[in-house]
Amino acid sequence: MTNYILVPRAVLQDAIEELEAWSDRSEDKATAVKLRALLDAPCEPVGSLIIDKNRGTHVTAITSEPFDATCIPLYAPKEQL
């Protein structure tokens, strides 16, 4: 089971706003603070997967080059950087 989950920004934004607006519990506020910190300073991609679209999701290469629209960004957990 993986320890990290890649969450779409909009989904996370919604969750944080709801927690901040509706919960009075300190532990929920703490969770919202942690998530807000990630949202405000997310980890940037460290590399890219180059996918051969003719072969579904077949990965043809991994590169540290800046990614563009044809590549899939790779993220490393921030805690480890």
Binding site: I5, K34, L35, L38, L74
Partner: protein, 162 residues
Amino acid sequence: MTDHILVHRAVLQAAVDALEELNGMGASRGLYKGITSFADLCALLDDPCEPVAWMVSNGVHPCGFFRDKRQAEIFAADEQKCHALSGSLAFYHVKELYTTNGVGKTSNSENLKILKELEELEPALEALVNYINNFSSHCNSDEVIKAEAALERLYKKRKEQL
């Protein structure tokens, strides 16, 4: 600005639990309606993305990218050994890399399957070529050439898929 945020499972689980509780409390008070993307969050927790690659870094500087964790660990250990001998303060370590769910997730198992098929096909192809070379005078040459070409095409196709 990135479209996706990498979140630790425990933190996300805490957020989901809190939202679930809010939903229960809000429903009884008629206040909290819940977020529309709550189901997306639950789905992500149930089916999280697995690491698709591994990066070897020296400190914070990326040095190499690998599809295979073991290869990354070997590379990091070798580099660390070389630098340690020279007395440098290098710190090579392996980090898992994530990408959006579904991408590259099944490629490793698919590749292994193709590799196994190739390994099985290779001796058969070699045996057939040897047979043809030794006994071609007794065979219908057109059919033999066609069969050989078909096998070679299949072999090349599989190899290209890797």
